[in-house]
Symmetry: C2
Subunit: 367 residues, 2 copies
């Protein structure tokens, strides 16, 4: 799965340290499902054209309709790039397809083929803006989970007043058991450590009060497991404290995590709409808007979900990054960069190592 | 429990329709726990002084340290008001006390005594800014629940782009069964109908997707019950849709509801802090703030949680309104008005009637 050496041709930079895996020698190969998402190949290729310059050592494998892709590449004058390979895939997984439909009927879809390249070791990570349920199902079937991990979770970064927080699970698993929450915490800590350089990320458990007795049965039991673990567990975290930056990793059941995420998105949208209505409602409003625009833009950038685009399907035996379906070129590029970073840090291997060592020692056997 | 007639003395307005309960003849008597909450009697009495004028037919019974209360009343020149009675209570339930501690040790607390007046039919509703857990526990023990309701819920209004939504349960019950969610929906619909005048409030079920198959086991089963009921059930509602005003009543498990509420509060606080930082960061920022202030104030009023202060403990055999502990005079007054409105509409009787008729017919027996 890992490319430990790549013969360079000069244009790709130094790359010939043989036998010693290190940052410079690992030249990630990223498969991109170019057909999924609201705007398909166009957005993907715009994002790529931005990334080729800043990531000259990365190889991109595009999956999708070959003629469409080659045409788009030519339009953007990328058809001669040595960093891009095209693999033809004749199908696309629809946004409304169930995971089982995708598994049964779409074996030649851009999504299926991309994960196949990952399974076969041709690439180090997959990026897709498609149907999350299908992506997770295909990931589980084709890659399996890391040994010791029962349920992969969807994990994403969100902004806080202190920086950012990694939240999981955001919706892959409803009805989690306490052991699953512990596994989320272990995986999330490793990812956060790699990405943010924090040695011992603070782990919080999403709950309805700070006392240990608070919460439903699963959460209370998970709290006990977390307290007994080696993790830097800071205790229960209420929904109102998350955005204050009280923890680096926030674990919760997938149902609750999805409500947390969607609620945040919905409230932010409402505030935006209310603000917009205030500004456009009158002449004074429009004047105030012009004066206020730099402030609003700064706020928008600060809270911009696009810079955090790219959720990790954490726990699969391979790196899959899920982009929002409506991502623009900037947002999709961020998702691809997340894939590159996780591949470079060998995230999956790290998790597998930790899970084998630590879980066996300190944590009860998983159900 | 209901005061069907009160002999008027002229200053209280006409009130002598004997035997026929109707709006004019029902002169609510409200018990107020004057010692709970962060600022105790001072805020309570400020709120009262605002309400006496606008509600000349309402009687207020204050529970608390008699000497403290009489002193505060004198300071505010309310000591001669015929609308205020003082009942001495020697204890106060602490904010950190567990419900069982409150039940055992604080029988002469302002909270306990207030609910006692409700139980004994002296008053029609109770308002308290104190410890929610203790309030609910005391309510359950002293009042019991409305026949047919298993678990009382905490219900509160939140602003939406269309107006407002009533959300329950906000944290009284973790690990709900599907039948409990149905009961929340029934009670919530009645309260919304009374307060907003909407004949058939739209009921939504907080979930992680629109399809019927989505959600954890409890939510899926609750969806089935709601679809079979007489309620105007609009289906699953995601966290992002709530603030768009897609439903009038939103039902969920208490754990999830608490996360929803706290997340909203936390994100709103973060946006406020980020905005404030943007404005104070520079000279331009301060200029922009001055220009922008009317817009911000309009937004703040629109989203001001103070106007929605006053959550109902819905399902008890009597009306209890919980105010935020840190409510100011304006907010506390809104909570008292909620109590007056629910008492005037005879909320508890309405729920009892509906539950007896409808639950027997259309809804499976509760576990």
């Amino acid at each position: 799965m890992w490319v430990l050496q790549r013969a360079g041709d000069g244009t790709q930079g130094s790359s010939s340290l043989i036998g010693f895996p290190d940052w410079n020698a690992i030249l990630p190969q990223i498969a991109i499902d170019a057909m999924s998402g609201d705007s398909g190949p166009r957005t993907v290729l715009w994002a790529l054209s931005d990334l080729l310059r800043s990531h000259p050592t990365v190889q991109f494998h595009l999956l999708g309709d070959e003629s469409v892709l080659r045409r788009e590449l030519t339009r953007k004058r990328l058809h001669k790039s040595s960093q891009i390979q095209v693999h033809h895939a004749s199908q696309v997984v629809g946004m409304d397809e169930t995971p089982s439909q995708a598994l049964r009927n779409k074996r030649d879809s851009s999504m299926h083929r991309a994960i196949g390249l990952l399974r076969d070791g041709v690439v180090d990570a997959v990026v897709s803006a498609g149907n999350t349920g299908a992506l997770m199902a295909l990931g589980k079937v084709l890659l399996r989970t890391i040994p010791g991990i029962d349920r992969p979770a969807i994990a994403a970064f969100l902004p806080t007043l202190q920086g950012r927080v990694l939240v999981l699970d955001l919706g892959a698993n409803v009805d989690c058991h306490p052991e699953h929450l512990l596994q989320f915490a272990v995986m999330g800590s490793i990812l956060f450590r790699q990405v943010a350089g924090v040695e011992r990320p603070r782990v919080g458990l999403l709950n309805i009060g700070s006392e240990e007795i608070k919460g439903n049965e699963v959460v209370k039991a998970a709290g006990n497991l977390l307290r007994q673990s080696h993790l830097h567990f800071v205790g229960n975290v209420e929904g109102s404290q998350v955005y204050q930056g009280i923890c680096d990793v926030l674990v919760c059941d997938g149902f609750v995590g999805n409500v947390f995420l969607k609620t945040s998105e919905g409230l932010a949208a409402m505030i935006r709409q209310e603000l917009r209505a205030s500004y456009t409602g009158s002449l004074y409003g429009r004047f105030a808007y012009v004066v206020n625009r730099p402030i609003l833009q700064k706020l928008r950038r600060r809270l911009d979900s696009r810079q955090y685009n790219g959720a990790t399907l954490l726990g699969l035996n391979g790196i899959i990054i899920k982009s929002h379906g409506n991502a623009d070129r900037f947002a999709f590029a961020r998702a691809v960069e997340a894939a590159i970073a996780e591949a470079s840090h060998r995230l999956t291997l790290e998790i597998a190592k930790v899970v084998q060592d630590d879980l066996a020692q300190a944590i009860p056997s998983t159900a």
